[in-house]
């Protein structure tokens, strides 16, 4: 059984790489969709369809559409690419909502102060709003990444050689069931716990500027 450790580790590595790529794609898609929704009136409905549509569909069927149906339209993707695009765009819908809540939680007065000083809307976005985003969206975003990691197990169904797929190969080859499944469950759990601890740690770092220092408290 120990001989299979490299196989499992390879699967783990693929899972991590795919989740990282999907998270980046999802964040980019989410921010793009939310900014479009805010600034381009004519595309508002389309953004809504994207968000509501993707959030209403199971990830599995989106992957099937990308992997089995897209070739019929001339788009042939390898499993990994289909997986990253599917997971990324699917989570993009959730990240868009997270960004929306983030933007909404910035007090209006800050924006008014900026525009009364003559800052352009683009400057307000890049200097006032976006820099605050990481601290504002971190907790829900970390939560979403955890969901993404767990959803990535579904990629095994379209034959991406990630953790679940590699482990089920072991099951098929060795006919041992309990041990591989247990290791699989523990690895996901560890991954999820790790990300959530990392999230808590960076939350403390990112929100440090919001807390008054000891001195500041005494002065006020």
């Amino acid at each position: 059984m120990a001989g299979y450790a490299p196989v499992v580790l390879h699967g783990l590595w693929v899972t991590i790489a795919i989740c990282a790529a999907s998270t980046l794609l999802g964040l980019a898609a989410g921010l793009a969709v939310e900014l479009t929704r805010q600034h381009v009136r004519s595309l508002r409905v389309l953004c809504r369809v994207y968000v509501e549509g993707l959030r209403g569909a199971p990830i599995l069927i989106l992957l099937f559409l990308l992997y089995y149906a897209a070739p019929g339209l001339g788009l042939v993707l390898d499993p990994e690419t289909a997986g990253v695009i599917g997971l990324g765009l699917y989570n993009g819908a959730y990240f868009a909502e997270i960004f929306r809540a983030g933007f909404e939680s910035i007090p209006k007065g800050q924006v008014e102060a900026a525009s009364s000083l003559g800052l352009s809307p683009l400057r307000i976005l890049t200097r006032v709003k976006l820099p605050q985003m990481p601290a504002l969206i971190l907790p829900p975003a970390v939560n979403q990444v955890i969901i993404l990691i767990k959803d990535s197990a579904v990629l095994s169904i379209i034959t991406v050689p990630e953790l679940t797929k590699e482990t089920s190969k072991i099951i098929n080859e060795t006919f041992a069931i309990a041990e591989p499944l247990l290791v699989l469950a523990l690895l996901y759990w560890a991954l999820v716990e790790g990300v959530s601890q990392l999230g808590l740690k960076s939350e403390r770092r990112l929100t440090r500027y919001l807390k008054r220092t000891e001195e500041g408290t005494r002065c006020s």
Partner: protein, 221 residues
């Protein structure tokens, strides 16, 4: 795009969707009972009970449903429990949603002012009566929006039970694809059915949210 094919497969897809709803709602209902018990265990003063509940909730929230499904489906027979796919599917979804529901209920209990419980204790109400008469009715009402959200998540997750051959919407569409070789039409139709079901649910959810938001705002002095 072969519209005739989509229309022709609608009855089969609808039967699949009915199975999807059945599996999801059964798991939600069973998960409600298990989740409520878990949240009580989690808040219990008994340290071992509380730690056990915490462990369960953390583990089940950390394991992908697909993995849990495989565990239930393959490991139950290994310990001598032969479970048909449908039972294994509902069991796995229940075990999963119970962990999430437990946290939802804990959040609900946390917002009930402790004074209400003190008032009940002072009048001599027993702990069980306090739970069934004072706490649970309010918590269920307070968490309905979160619960509707959980139904949506579970409904989507239920597509995974297709891998152990439960003929719900996902499985039915796979069968149709292998018969017709038209993945675009069939998967798109199935996808739309999922979206439709979930849009109805989320409309219901936001309606409840408005109602409850108003009620609870007036409910607290």
């Amino acid at each position: 795009m072969d519209l005739g094919l989509i229309i022709g497969s609608l009855p089969a897809l609808a039967r699949g969707a009915a199975m999807t709803l059945f599996v999801s709602l059964t798991a939600i209902a069973l998960g409600l009972v298990l989740g409520m018990l878990l949240s009580f265990a989690r808040m219990s003063e008994n340290r071992w009970l509380s730690a056990a509940a915490r462990f369960y909730i953390s583990a089940l929230r950390g394991i992908p449903i697909l993995v849990l499904l495989l565990m239930v489906f393959y490991l139950l027979p290994a310990v001598g429990l032969e479970a048909p796919p449908l039972v294994a599917a509902i069991a796995a979804l229940t075990l999963n949603t119970a962990a999430f529901q437990a946290e939802i209920y804990r959040g609900g209990f946390a917002v009930i002012p402790p004074g209400q419980i003190e008032a009940a204790r002072v009048l001599g109400l027993g702990e069980t009566r306090i739970k069934t008469r004072i706490l649970i009715p309010q918590v269920i009402w307070l968490v309905t929006p979160a619960l509707v959200n959980e139904i949506i998540v579970l409904l989507k997750n239920s597509s995974l039970v297709s891998v152990i051959a439960v003929t719900e919407l996902m499985r039915v569409s796979q069968q149709l694809v292998s018969k017709t070789y038209k993945p675009t039409e069939v998967y798109l139709a199935a996808c739309l059915l999922y979206v439709l079901m979930n849009l109805c649910l989320s409309a219901l959810g936001s309606r409840l949210r408005r109602r409850i938001g108003g009620a609870s705002a007036g409910g607290r002095p």
